[in-house]
Amino acid sequence: MRIGFFLREAVRATRRSAAPSFAALATVLVTMLVLGVFIPIVQATNGAANSVRSRVLVDVYMKSSATAADEARVRRELLAVSHVKSVEFVSKQQAYAQQSKIDPQAYQLLGSNPLPDTFHVIPDSPGNVLAVRSALTPKGPSGQPGVIDPAIGSVSNKKNDTRKILEVTNLVTITAAALTVLLTLASILLIANTIRLSLYARRREVEVMKLVGATDWFIRWPFVIEGIVVGAAGALLAIAVLGIAKVALLDPLAHSWTLIAAPQTIPFSALVAILMFAGVLVSALGSGLSLRRFLRV
């Protein structure tokens, strides 16, 4: 009975004061649209940055004379080095197959396989790559960097590249995070303000309810339900627009532009869930909390 009453009250309020409700709905719609576009962009950017960072690793090239026993020993030694997360072995044959796929003509000309057996040493975090590298190339008695095992031919030296990659990707990630925080904040404030305005138009009504002896929650529930309905409607409309845009614009492009198709991009269903949840939560909370100051009668 109570829930039914509150629902009917909410519907009545939405119908009888359509203009403020519509304003709130439009605000939710626009904000959710912006968020819906922005979240995948941030995700794709972060994904791209991360995939670049994941390529930051130390390559250990074996001598061409290395045997299987050498390989097993070197693998153990590499894993014992601090900050090493994992080690990935690429044999000569595998490397040749990979490379010749990329540039078949060049490798056909080459005839034989010039590639050594290689260990990709992956650090536990990209920031530690330089530490791992210096651990693998300890200074010998002559002051020249040596190797930790006689079976190792050389260790890749991409110090400058690595540093640049780390700096740039860090910047990208931080910027994206900052933008996300700002945009989320702006969305919440915008929606809360619109709701506050629509409540302000009805503050007299709230005052009368209080004078008749309604408890705070008796007055508040219909407003919260109205917030949920308006938030859900706005979010649904935004999702519909985004869905159409995805099918009509993005999906055809995804074949030719890898950034959009990046596997790190948020799946559409998760995006829908986030938008729906955010829209409903923000407008319901906004309604409930903004009402507080008008309830002090």
């Binding site: 009975m1 109570r2 009453f5 009545r12 309020a13 009888r16 004061s17 007299r204 009504e205 005052e207 009368v208 309810m209 209080k210 004078l211 008749v212 002896g213 309604a214 408890t215 705070d216 008796f218 009668v297």
Partner: protein, 281 residues
């Protein structure tokens, strides 16, 4: 139920007026149970300005009392204190035995359900019909649909609004809106009805109708306190009058002929008759 204690009350009536300056014993006195409103040394300051200054008075169950005074004399302050919209700066207010100072913020809504309030500007909910405005007062108390179906048509018939059930407030005249407001205030049959300038926005003929309605409610045993500056109406009604001036109670008297058992029809006839006494008594 309201009518049952009216008859008992009538037989037990005592002299209605206590002198203003009369010192009261701090201990419980036997009249407590009969007192609906009891102000003791109540002051209210608005950031330095005096709203009410050491007001002490009481109103017994079943009384019909006018609260008069010019603008800013403290009438509205008394009303707002009574519905606990304001807190007194000092002094105690008791309503039907409850000390208002002891009612927590959380309990205020439940207290307000026992006090019907009628305002000069009606304060109806603009997006509800007449029926729904009155029903809202029942809904806040958790009244069931059955309850609403039983009580609302009754009260609307009493107030003469049966034909306006489905109209919205902006489709009604001022007098009709005030009737809706009274219906809403009375639908819970509160023991106390407050009316703050109920006729302030109405023409004389409509005012008489509204006063007649308030008197009819009073006859069911409800205590009625009316704040007004309509001096002529007060003189004609011949009820107890409390006069405020700059926050002080300067007069408390039962006007000469206290004809309590007058019918509402007689009252209306008397109100419509030309004034027989000079105004300002």
């Amino acid at each position: 139920m309201a009518t049952s204690f009216t008859s008992r009350d009538r037989t037990r009536r005592r002299a209605p007026v206590a002198p203003v300056a009369h010192p009261r014993q701090p201990v419980r006195d036997p009249a407590d149970g009969r007192r609906v409103i009891d102000f003791r040394g109540v002051s209210k300051l608005y950031s330095g300005d005096v709203g009410l200054d050491q007001a002490t008075f009481s109103v017994d169950r079943g009384e019909f009392v006018f609260l008069v005074g010019s603008t800013g004399s403290g009438k509205s302050t008394v009303m707002r204190l009574l519905i606990k919209e304001l807190e007194p700066t000092s002094g105690t207010i008791r309503v039907a035995g409850h000390d208002l100072g002891e009612i927590t913020r959380r309990r205020v809504p439940f207290y307000r359900r026992n006090v019907g309030v009628v305002f000069q500007d009606f304060k109806l909910l603009p997006n509800r019909t007449v029926h729904d405005n009155v029903a809202y007062a029942l809904q806040v108390t958790g009244g069931s649909r059955k309850d609403i179906r039983a009580k609302v048509p009754d009260i609307l018939r009493l107030t003469g609004l049966s034909t306006k059930l489905h109209n919205y407030p902006d489709q009604l005249s001022g007098g009709e809106q005030q009737r809706v407001s009274i219906a809403r205030a009375f639908v819970n049959h509160p023991p106390l009805l407050l009316a703050d300038e109920p006729t302030g926005n109405l023409d004389p003929e409509t005012s008489i109708d509204i006063m007649r309605l308030l008197y009819r409610i009073n006859r069911t045993g409800t205590t009625v306190l009316v704040a007004t500056h309509d001096q002529a109406m007060v003189d004609k009604m011949r009820r107890r009058v409390l006069e405020l001036s700059r926050g002080r109670i300067v007069r408390d008297e039962a006007a000469g002929l206290y004809t309590r058992d007058e019918t509402t029809r007689d009252l209306a006839r008397r109100l419509r008759a030309p004034s027989t006494r000079p105004p300002g008594v």
